[in-house]
């Protein structure tokens, strides 16, 4: 740890709007820390799924249950929404309010599409008798994926409040900071999803025993 104190490379006026206001910039730091708590939260759910992944208790197994169709659709929707969300931030840096709003609304729509597909998928499982009561494996599966899904749902409502605020107040240090933290959240959920489709779906579908 060096004792030397260097200065920020950019003078304050050139900082992106989110960081221009000292206190608003602190909120970004706080939000990052919150995201890491969420990271550990998901890690615990992953761990639970990992240790319970063979506790079928005579219930259905992943090979019977999972299908590529909805999985590919969900993944595509979420990855694309991550992209549109990043474009909203790009437009906010360019001070383009309509740009921000349109990308943000597109993000919301993609998010709704994701949640809708997932709900549909869950309903079809329950229709097959795969309720979460049935086995430890199913409890862990529904809870992990469902927690992600409810995070996305929360994100959708959050984004809706942002739309209202942006329309009302335009792009200010405060609204742009809020948008920035929302984007962090959204991309973070994307990362979690990547691990879900890799660990929960793909690896289970190989039928192979993980180390």
């Amino acid at each position: 740890m060096s004792q030397a104190v260097r200065h920020l490379e950019l003078p304050e006026q050139q900082l992106p709007l989110e960081f221009a206001d000292y206190h608003e910039s602190i909120k970004v730091t706080g939000f990052w820390i919150f995201l890491t708590t969420d990271l550990v939260l998901f890690a615990c759910l992953f761990a639970t799924f990992a240790v319970m992944r063979y506790d079928f208790a005579n219930g259905p197994t992943p090979i019977h249950l999972f299908h590529m169709g909805p999985l590919i659709l969900e993944t595509a929707l979420l990855l694309t929404s991550s992209f549109t969300c990043s474009l909203a931030i790009y437009q906010s840096r360019a001070q383009n309010k309509t740009g921000v709003l349109s990308w943000l609304i597109l993000t919301i729509l993609l998010g709704i599409g994701f949640v809708g597909t997932e709900v549909h998928e869950f309903i079809s499982y329950v229709g097959l008798g795969a309720t979460w009561h049935k086995s430890g494996f199913l409890s862990a599966f529904f809870t992990l994926v469902g927690t992600h899904g409810s995070h996305v749902t929360f994100g959708i409502f959050w984004a809706l409040t942002l739309v209202v605020q942006l329309v009302k107040r335009g792009i200010t240090p405060r609204t742009s900071r809020k948008l920035y933290t929302f984007a962090l959240y959204w991309h973070f959920l994307d990362i979690v999803w990547v691990f879900i489709f890799s660990f929960v779906y793909l690896v289970s579908m190989t039928g192979g025993k993980m180390a």
Partner: protein
């Protein structure tokens, strides 16, 4: 209707301590309401406290709650000890002992130790780093009210519905609905979940505050040691509470919504709860002890009139403890038999923690070496801590020795280990901190003479209580036994332990007397620096004005205030009038209080599965969140003239 009443007040024999406490609580509530009404203080209460976002006031509210909970958990402990004083004792109705140790452990850890520490975080940290408040003042208030909601919910379980009774660790499948059909465990799960959210927010808040809001020039290596420990405690909280949240949440899902995580049937895996719980539980014990270490690192130099010895080593050891504490959790369940490689790994990693901890102990002693030690009450608590914690730590290392743990696990040896650590470390630490910062909080001193009486009585009772418990461990007495037969030789030692507990109780009463007496007759602290302090909080008047610093100081040294005094620059007492600018401060807000109430309602509904109530509460939560999303009017500006006036009235203004 009668059905509802039957669920709220199931037929059960009441514990005598509950009856006394509940009557006491109801009476004091009525008295409080009466006084507030008579003195027309409702508005004051609402404006100055319930809606306050000032870290100093939030700290005081935490402190008051923690002292109340210490009393409550202490009374539980006295009941435990009374029941165990004699073999074959039947002082308590069957089954109530189980509730006692559960509520005792839970309350002491979550509703006494944690809030007591948060009280001191709030009171001291912003002042020590030269900030005007924490990073998120409103979230800070939310943390407090969520803690309060959780604590109240947990505490009403005695009157309404029944208490949890599966230990503070609440291992399933004992907590599964089938083995534990009452609402008691729901109370445990829901109240800890709610309080846990608040705690997580506190962790985020203080980490952010310390990372981003230090006064100019206060580099990392110039931060007071307490600030360092709070920073890493924040990190510990942030990463340790998610496992707890998940463990509790999944158990709650099992109980309320029929999932099969930790159940005996349906391929449930109770061991995973144990695993998750200790992923939290072990860091938790460092969460409660590291800030105490920080307090000692402030108290020792001040009362030895000497610089802290080995500051870089102190920082390094705190960081090492933090990292290590994430990779030792299995030592709480060696006997689950996860295999020799797992046990050997976690046994050795646990022992390694002794090294950085030892560095800290030696550094405190070396700080005193060559100093001029003043035996104030704050210092005495620290001095009692060292011998006690040495024993606690050494017996901890014995427990980390895997084959030894196979014999000592869940025995009274373990009980003695952790009480020596929790009381000798945490409780002595917070009491030391309380005496130390008391004048800064309230503007008057606690009487030293009475404080010393309280100290000596409590500490002697403490050793008399817990040292015999080590021996009980060697005699094979296990924890959580509501009674034991004669003839095993456990009687005499238990009797000694019980006597010690009552002596501790006496010490606590003297402490309460000390506080109440000093409120009336205590000496006022007019200097703001009664101990000849070393850090920035002592450069402020006691208590500090709402904005803390009229002008934020520029820091050039570790122990900045002491250096200022050394170089004769004590004029920092004086604030340059021209340097005062308008100050932006957060506005008080009713939202945190409202959110706390809403969470309480949600929780209460969940406990009884009365979903209408839960939904009503949830609407309150949503309303609060929406309100704050659209609330852009949350700060206000203090006029420089007002600041000048108030600084002048404190005699601190230099024209």
């Amino acid at each position: 209707m009668s059905q509802i009443l039957a669920r709220l007040f199931p037929p059960q024999t009441r514990r005598p301590d509950e009856v006394v406490i509940e009557i006491g609580i109801v009476l004091s509530m009525l008295f409080l309401v009466y006084m507030l009404t008579r003195l027309k203080k409702w508005g004051w209460l609402w404006r100055e406290w319930l809606t306050s976002v000032d870290h100093k006031k939030i700290g005081i509210m935490y402190l008051v709650s923690a002292l109340l909970m210490l009393f409550r958990g202490g009374v539980d402990a006295l009941m435990i000890r009374s029941q165990l004083a004699l073999p074959n004792n039947h002082l308590l109705p069957v089954g109530q002992y189980d509730e006692l140790f559960t509520t005792h452990g839970t309350i002491m850890i979550f509703f006494m130790a944690m809030p007591f520490l948060f009280a001191l975080f709030n009171v001291a940290i912003p002042l020590m780093i030269g900030a005007r408040d924490v990073a998120f003042p409103r979230l800070n208030a939310i943390s407090f009210w969520l803690f309060a909601a959780g604590a109240i919910l947990f505490n009403i379980s005695f009157v309404v519905g029944g208490s949890p009774n599966a230990g503070w660790t609440a291992y399933p499948p004992l907590t599964e609905l089938r083995f534990n059909p009452g609402v008691g465990e729901n109370y445990y799960l829901v109240s800890l979940l709610i309080a846990g959210i608040g705690t997580t927010i506190t962790g985020i808040n203080f980490m952010t505050t310390i990372l981003r809001m230090r006064a100019p020039g206060m580099t990392l290596m110039r931060m007071p040691m307490f600030v360092w420990t709070v920073l890493v405690t924040g990190a510990l909280i942030v990463f340790a509470f998610p496992p707890l949240t998940i463990a509790l949440l999944l158990t709650l899902l099992d109980r309320l919504f029929g999932s099969s995580f930790f159940t005996l049937g349906h391929g449930g895996m109770p061991m995973q709860f144990v695993n998750l719980f200790w992923l939290f539980g072990h860091p938790e014990v460092y969460i409660v002890v590291l800030p105490a270490f920080g307090i000692f690192s402030e108290v020792v130099p001040v009362f030895s009139d000497k610089k802290l010895f080995g500051y870089p080593a102190m920082v390094g050891s705190v960081l090492a403890i933090t990292l290590l504490s994430y990779v030792v959790w299995v030592h709480h369940f060696f006997t689950m038999g996860a295999g020799p490689s797992v046990n050997a790994f976690f046994g050795v990693s646990t022992m390694l923690i002794a090294i950085p901890t030892g560095v800290k102990i030696f550094n405190w002693v070396l700080t005193m070496w060559g100093g001029r030690i003043r035996f104030t009450v704050a210092m005495l608590w620290q001095l009692a801590f060292i011998p006690a914690f040495l024993v606690a730590g050494a017996t901890g290392v014995l427990l980390a020795t895997v084959p030894v743990d196979y014999q000592m696990h869940n025995s009274y040896f373990l009980i003695a280990h952790f009480h020596l650590a929790l009381i000798g470390g945490t409780v002595f630490g917070v009491l030391s901190g309380m005496y130390y910062w008391w004048p800064k909080m309230f503007g008057f001193m606690l009487n030293e003479r009475q404080g010393k009486w309280a100290f000596w009585i409590f500490v002697s009772g403490f050793f008399v209580t817990f040292v015999p418990q080590y021996m009980l461990g060697f005699e094979g007495m296990t924890r959580r036994m509501y009674t034991y037969p004669a003839g095993l030789g456990w009687g005499p030692l238990n009797m000694v332990s019980t006597i010690g507990a009552f002596v501790q109780g006496l010490g606590f009463l003297v402490l309460v007397y000390n506080v109440l007496w000093s409120m009336r007759y205590g000496e006022r602290d007019l200097t703001g620096d009664p101990w000849n302090g070393r850090t920035l909080e002592w450069s402020l008047p006691s208590p500090a004005p709402s904005y803390n610093f009229a002008v934020i100081p520029a820091v050039t040294h570790r122990d900045e205030w002491w250096e200022m005094k050394q170089s004769g620059k004590a004029r920092a007492y004086k604030v340059k009038s021209s340097a005062i600018r308008p100050i932006h401060m957060p506005k008080r807000s009713a939202m945190p209080f409202f959110l706390g109430v809403s969470f309480f309602v949600v929780g209460f509904g969940m406990v009884f599965s009365w979903w209408v109530i839960t939904i009503i509460g949830a609407l309150g939560v949503i309303a609060s969140l929406l309100f704050s999303a659209f609330d852009y009017n949350d700060s206000e500006e203090i006029d420089p003239e007002d600041v000048r006036r108030s600084e002048a009235s404190l005699g601190r203004l230099e024209i």
